[in-house]
């Protein structure tokens, strides 16, 4: 991967967007913002139309057999690309940590091999920008106060570290406010949010309290699933705090006539 220079064009890198099922169906704007952002950074990202889902919702509920054909579809859709970018730490984590379990269960050595080959080329958005493109300042403009929730799978399963906050700190006009107990789970947890709704909400309410204490206008995270939960609580409380995906913020630029830095 080091041999490639996506803007220098020794050989153009073929990059696919795995938009994720939740963004596809519920948050297409986030998908569009990833495209806008990556194009601005010189990456001619493609959207393989055969893609569906990473299979995590099924695996985490215990339906591993049911995830096998979903994994097959995933590998077929993305195998031909040099890199796959996904705006979700959870989906990237699932690819790297769960696909091996699913393919082992399928008892299909070829699928196991193909998915093991693909997994290291799947990047969460901030990893792709910082590690593959080597960019910190993406040229964004966002004149708001922001709190950032790291999300458990980005933080612990994937280990994205401070990549997202570095990207946010480099955004012109953006003030990043410290969120206390930031590394604590928001309580979403996939089907946990419904199976154990009361506990999920109790955990989420503590997260919301910490978010409100920052006084930020916007809560940013790298996973739409967690944001649906936290945002649902914030909206129910009529808090006035908006939730945005990292891509939604990084895609913003100073409007024409606003003058660039």
């Amino acid at each position: 991967m080091d041999d490639f220079d996506v803007r220098g064009l020794v050989q153009p890198m073929r990059v696919a967007l795995q938009v994720t099922c939740i963004n596809d169906a519920l948050y297409p704007d986030t998908g569009r913002n990833v495209v806008r952002l990556l194009r601005r950074l010189g990456v001619d990202v493609e959207f393989p139309a055969a893609q569906t889902c990473c299979g995590q919702p099924m695996v985490n509920t215990g339906y591993i057999n049911e995830a096998v054909p979903v994994l097959r579809t995933f590998v077929d859709a993305f195998a031909g690309y040099d890199a796959v970018v996904t705006p979700s730490g959870s989906c990237a984590g699932s690819v790297r940590h769960q696909h091996a379990i699913v393919s082992a269960r399928a008892g299909d050595p070829l699928l196991a091999e193909r998915s093991a080959d693909l997994a290291p080329r799947v990047f969460e958005l901030s990893e792709f920008i910082v590690d593959v493109l080597g960019v910190i300042d993406v040229g964004a403009w966002f004149p708001h106060t922001v709190a950032y929730h790291p999300t458990c799978h980005s933080l612990r399963m994937l280990g994205v570290g401070d990549r997202p906050t570095k990207l946010l700190e480099a955004v012109e006009g953006l003030t990043l406010l410290p969120l206390s107990e930031a590394e604590e789970c928001c309580g979403f947890g996939g089907t946990f949010a419904v199976k154990n709704a009361g506990t999920s909400v109790a955990i989420g309410e503590d997260k919301v309290r910490n978010v409100l204490a920052t006084g930020a206008d916007v809560l940013v995270a790298g996973d739409r699933s967690c944001l649906t939960h936290i945002g649902g609580l914030l909206d129910r409380q009529r808090s006035g705090v908006r939730v945005m995906h990292l891509a939604d913020v990084l895609a913003q630029t100073r409007p024409p006539g606003g003058g660039r830095r």
Partner: protein
């Protein structure tokens, strides 16, 4: 402990009751965040912490691979040192052995060192049925026992109680409690000390567990903070120790690793205050009759689970409980077992068997899979992965019989998500589905959370229309 976990409802129902208890949530929040901060500070001091964790996990894995050999070594070393070794397949056998020892000495009471395993097998209740009183001597266990309560934490079983509640329990249940007792912790400890001292001096038989069993010398190890354990281990004439078969470590050099990992992970201390070790009988010093009950009670079942067996590395430090967002909100009782929290969510199904009850089957789902437990576990137990694997076992155990709504939904999802055109078709109904959910169903979600607005078109549709170039 006179309460019982038997017949507890499944996790979601038990958790609901706990969530309604504001006092409980405040006590838990305060206690877990205090221990978390202490642990983080002392773990942060050690540069080689990660290396220690890897060593701890490796030693335990090696033991588990050749458990039979290590156990035979332990047995013969114990016998050489003058201990009587018993093997117990399950809780009933272990309880019977302990009762027989007590009866042989005509004891109608025993003093107990804090131990998880004797709670696991329900020893106090079994002894009570034989007319033998078992006195808990650990301060927190005493609070639980006097309050006719159940433990809710591995290390701090009365974590759900604050000191004013403790004072009330003492005044109500302790005949020798000083009348002017305040809720000052020092005064409370003093009252407990007076109450217990008499029992230590009177009892002929003591019962303990063990944190570790060193195979090479037949040495049992108990790690505790109060010194009450040491009183039990040294004053009575007869000592019976119930030890899970996974507690064996090959040598003292291996023990060294765990004596560093355990105190920092559990109490947030650099070194443990009281570490007692004994090998069989020493003439003229301490108990003159020593029994060791080596207990299976589901451990070999757990060992047979390729992914789950790592749970047998557990040293019961309880760091995972303190780190867990779910445990922090609902406390230990909701897990319906003496092993609560993340480790309980995997250990109970592994020991008892997936499919054994709805309560057991609900435990692997009692987690958001946030991974905070794995991050703190001193022996690197990948609890989230074990949880996911156990969920798969729960699903498989229920595949025959009537499919639940969830299974039907997952089958539909499999069909939809294995092909993009079927997904595209399904997405046409997103708006209708969300609209319906907002008005009628999905109440588990919508009781406290709003649902997002459905977009006009899916991303897929937008891309097809524009080629991604607006």
């Amino acid at each position: 402990m006179t309460g019982t976990f038997v017949g507890m409802p499944a996790f979601p129902a038990a958790a609901r009751d706990a969530l309604d208890n504001a006092q409980l949530r405040a006590n838990l929040d305060h206690a877990t965040s205090t221990i978390r901060a202490k642990r983080a500070a002392v773990v942060g001091e050690l540069e080689q912490w990660e290396a220690l964790r890897i060593a701890g996990a490796a030693i335990k894995d090696d033991v588990l691979l050749r458990l039979d050999d290590h156990l035979l070594t332990l047995e013969s070393a114990l016998q050489d040192a003058g201990a009587v070794v018993h093997w117990a397949r399950d809780a009933a056998e272990a309880c019977r052995i302990v009762a027989e020892v007590a009866r042989a000495h005509e004891a109608d009471e025993v003093v107990k060192v804090k131990s998880m395993v004797t709670q696991e097998i329900g020893l106090n209740e079994a002894l009570a049925a034989e007319g033998i009183a078992a006195w808990e001597t650990d301060l927190a266990e005493l609070i639980v026992q006097l309050g006719d309560d159940l433990p809710s934490h591995i290390l701090v079983p009365a974590i759900h109680r604050n000191r004013s509640e403790v004072r009330e329990i003492f005044l109500r249940e302790m005949p020798d409690a000083p009348p002017g007792l305040t809720d000052d912790p020092a005064r409370l400890a003093e009252a407990a000390r007076m109450h217990l001292r008499e029992k230590f001096l009177r009892a002929k038989v003591a019962v303990s567990g063990a944190n570790f069993a060193v195979a090479e010398t037949g040495t049992l190890v108990v790690v505790e903070s109060e010194g009450n354990g040491r009183m039990c281990l040294t004053l009575p004439d007869v000592l019976v120790s119930v030890v899970g078969i996974e507690k064996v470590v090959p040598s003292w050099r291996d023990l060294e690793v765990f004596l560093q990992l355990l105190p920092r992970s559990s109490t947030g201390e650099r070194m443990n205050p009281y570490t007692s070790t004994w090998s069989g009988v020493t003439a003229g010093d301490g108990p003159q009759e020593v029994h060791v009950v080596l207990l299976d009670n589901g451990r070999t079942r757990a060992l047979a689970d390729e992914i789950g067996r790592q749970a047998l590395r557990c040293i019961r430090c309880s760091a995972c409980l303190n780190a867990c967002p779910v445990y922090e909100r609902v406390g230990g009782h909701a897990y319906g077992s003496v092993y609560p929290g993340p480790i309980g969510a995997i250990l109970n199904p592994l020991l008892r068997g997936v499919g054994s009850s709805d309560q057991v089957d609900s435990l692997p789902y009692a987690s958001t899979l946030c991974g905070a437990c794995y991050e703190v576990c001193p022996v690197l137990i990948d609890i989230p992965s074990v949880l996911v694997n156990l969920r798969a076992q729960v699903v498989d155990a229920h595949r025959s019989g009537l499919p639940k709504a969830e299974a039907v939904a997952m089958k539909t999802a499999r069909a939809t998500l294995s092909s993009s055109w079927r997904l595209a078709l399904a997405e046409r109904f997103t708006r209708i589905g969300l609209g319906a959910a907002r008005r009628f169903g999905a109440s588990a979600w919508t009781r406290s959370r709003d649902l997002p607005e459905a977009p006009q078109e899916s991303f897929r549709k937008w891309w097809r229309r524009t080629g991604g170039r607006p």
